[in-house]
Amino acid sequence: MSSLRAGIAGIGFWANGLPGWNDAVAFARAGTLPENAPAKPSPLLLAPNERRRAPESVAVALEVALAACTASGRDPSTLPSVFASTHGDLAITDYVASTLASEPRALSPTRFHNSVHNAAAGYWTIGNGCTAPTTAISAYDASFAQGLLEALSLLASGHEAVLLAAFDASATGPLATVSPSQGLLGAALVLVAEPPSAATRLRVTPVAASAPAAAGALGRRFSDNAMRPMLPLFDALATGGDAALLHAGPGRALRVECAHG
């Protein structure tokens, strides 16, 4: 099986208690937690009133996407983007399903258009004035790995840089028993086809293997969130690890080798 390569130009991260990539690195290396971490992300991309109303899943996606772009020095309006989420916004699904059961004609139009899986992708392109392509995908517990393949494919098709953002939020109501997910977790990468020499380089190879559960510091801390299968990569990036195995589907994985610049 052939491998695909990319460089990392920027990383974004947000999770409860670790509101940035530097915080995640410090935690993964030394177990330290920042003081006074905000309870939820406050993405600057949205106007203040939208920031308050935005679904949690959209807020965390925009927060990490913008952080990754800022770290990369890239203009977000120029980047094609891939938004990966296992379940989308579970709290909105809970609202929609319970409203339909009781009073269907009372369904909120805003919450309906926020219920689409590409809500974060839509707000991202609108907020940045970005006319580049964007997509929103799910592959259940393989969502991050499949999103990574789409991002790498975009590079292979001629794009010079691409944004990949992955996130999941908390389940609420009866849905929480079938689609459990707790807390807010998001991470983003700006991937480039021709990285500068100082950049971390990835080599990604699909393999027939079962990826073990995330066992690093980040993987253990956020093991209740549905996007946990991405954490082996972020633990490796935070600690200078040289490889991670990502769940990519039943009996399949992506071997990601990291060469740190």
Partner: protein, 405 residues
């Protein structure tokens, strides 16, 4: 990369394709109804999940979905959306084509890329309407159907394909974008072939959601008609097989794709159709074609006042008057995440049979319509056909199909 830099793509062969809609199951049913100008729309008979409400509107409901029985080995996937997926997979020899593809390339080298907007959320709605002590009823305690990837994972289980497997959910552009993503996976060497498709079923979320947005018509939709007042919702499923084109082959091909974002509004299109134009221009560039080369364009044409106005502007800005452009939503309703695959199938039928559908239910041209927008069917040779699909969030995709030279 801006659209000005899109490079031409190597053509991909469309090995087989199928669609199941309110017009019936399989390609022949689509072709016959398009020819006969017979609509699949009916007065809404799909009640709210709790059963106590019925919207006054028209829907494109697929006959017989309730009677579909999944094989026992797939029973855990049972729900309306996966039944429709199964029904669509049984048409036009698609399962046999998939088996042949598996034998030719190996299951690991064939990707599954499928699109949907709401996947099997209808099952989640049903669970909430039948909660027992605040919990899902026992028969619906099946986590894999209450999540967007229900569709992709079901198709994976149903076909035995083992390559990359992904569900694209960008609202109403979903199953057009699957062609673009599959083309990239093949170009990147991650697969040698792909099963692409899309399935969406009528459910409370879409009926009451679009109703809440004021976008649903109380009567059959009238695309590009001056009196249009909203959409008719529908459901559908369809699939196609994409492979690298072999030298000297004959047959249908994917020649280009274009994707863009409006960067304007979550549920309203850009007023000048900027994103639509970008997507169409990029698809033409990838195909190495000029706008004048396209013979038939299947429009998104939802029959909402805003969509059709903007799409008419975009078409007029790009295409010569000789183009035959139409929306087929008067036949099928707006099948949302399945619209991309259904209307790609209609574009492929136009290439194969020279049938250029007009529009159904529309009789009074909007003053904004250019000469490209046709209400009547036409019959003539088609060399290249294009399909537009646009979704919430300003998510646009255009595809170009042709025949091997």
């Amino acid at each position: 990369m801006t659209s000005a830099q899109a490079r031409t793509m190597p053509p991909l062969s469309v090995g087989n394709y199928t669609a199941t809609t309110a017009l019936g199951a399989g390609r022949d049913a689509q072709l016959e109804a398009l020819r006969a100008r017979r609509s699949g729309l009916r007065a809404n008979d799909m009640r709210s999940p709790g059963g106590h409400d019925l919207l006054e509107t028209w829907i494109g409901r697929v006959e017989g979905v309730e009677a579909v029985a999944l094989p026992a080995t797939l029973a855990d996937w049972d729900c309306r959306n996966n039944r429709l997926a199964w029904l669509a997979l049984q048409q036009d020899g698609m399962m046999e084509s998939i088996a042949a593809l598996r034998d030719a390339h190996g299951a690991e080298r064939v990707a599954i890329v499928v699109g949907t907007s709401t996947s099997s959320i209808g099952a989640t709605e049903e669970a909430y309407a039948r909660l027992q002590d605040g919990r899902f009823p026992a028969d619906l305690q099946r986590p894999r159907i209450h999540t967007p990837h229900s569709l992709g994972a079901f198709v994976e289980a149903a076909t035995g394909l083992r390559g990359p497997c992904i569900t694209v959910a960008t609202a109403c552009s979903s199953s057009a974008k699957v062609f673009a993503q599959a083309a990239r996976l093949i170009e990147a060497g991650l697969a040698d072939a792909a099963l692409v498709g899309g399935v969406d079923t009528l459910c409370g979320s879409v009926l009451y959601g679009f109703n809440a947005l004021g976008l649903v018509s109380p009567r059959p939709c009238r695309p590009f008609d001056a009196r249009r007042d909203g959409l008719s919702l529908g459901e559908a499923g369809g699939f196609a097989i994409l492979e690298r084109a072999a030298p000297g082959e004959r047959g249908l091909q994917l020649r280009g794709y274009g994707e863009s974002s409006d960067a304007h509004h979550m549920s309203a299109p850009h007023p000048e159709g900027l994103g639509a134009q970008l997507a169409m221009r990029e698809a033409l560039q990838r195909a190495g074609l000029e706008a004048g080369d396209i013979d038939y364009l299947n429009l998104h044409g939802t029959a909402t006042p805003a969509n059709d106005k903007v799409e008419a502007l975009a078409v007029a800005a790009l295409f010569p008057p000789s183009l035959h452009a139409s929306s087929t939503k008067g036949w099928t309703g707006h099948t949302l995440g399945a619209a991309g695959i259904v209307e790609s199938a209609f574009a492929l039928l136009a290439l194969e049979h020279g049938l250029l559908p007009g529009m159904l239910g529309s009789s009074e041209h909007d003053p904004g319509n250019g000469p490209q927008l046709r209400f009547d069917n036409a019959q003539r040779e088609v060399a290249f056909a294009m399909n537009n699909s646009f979704g919430f969030g300003g998510n646009n995709c255009s595809l170009v199909f042709g025949r091997a030279a």
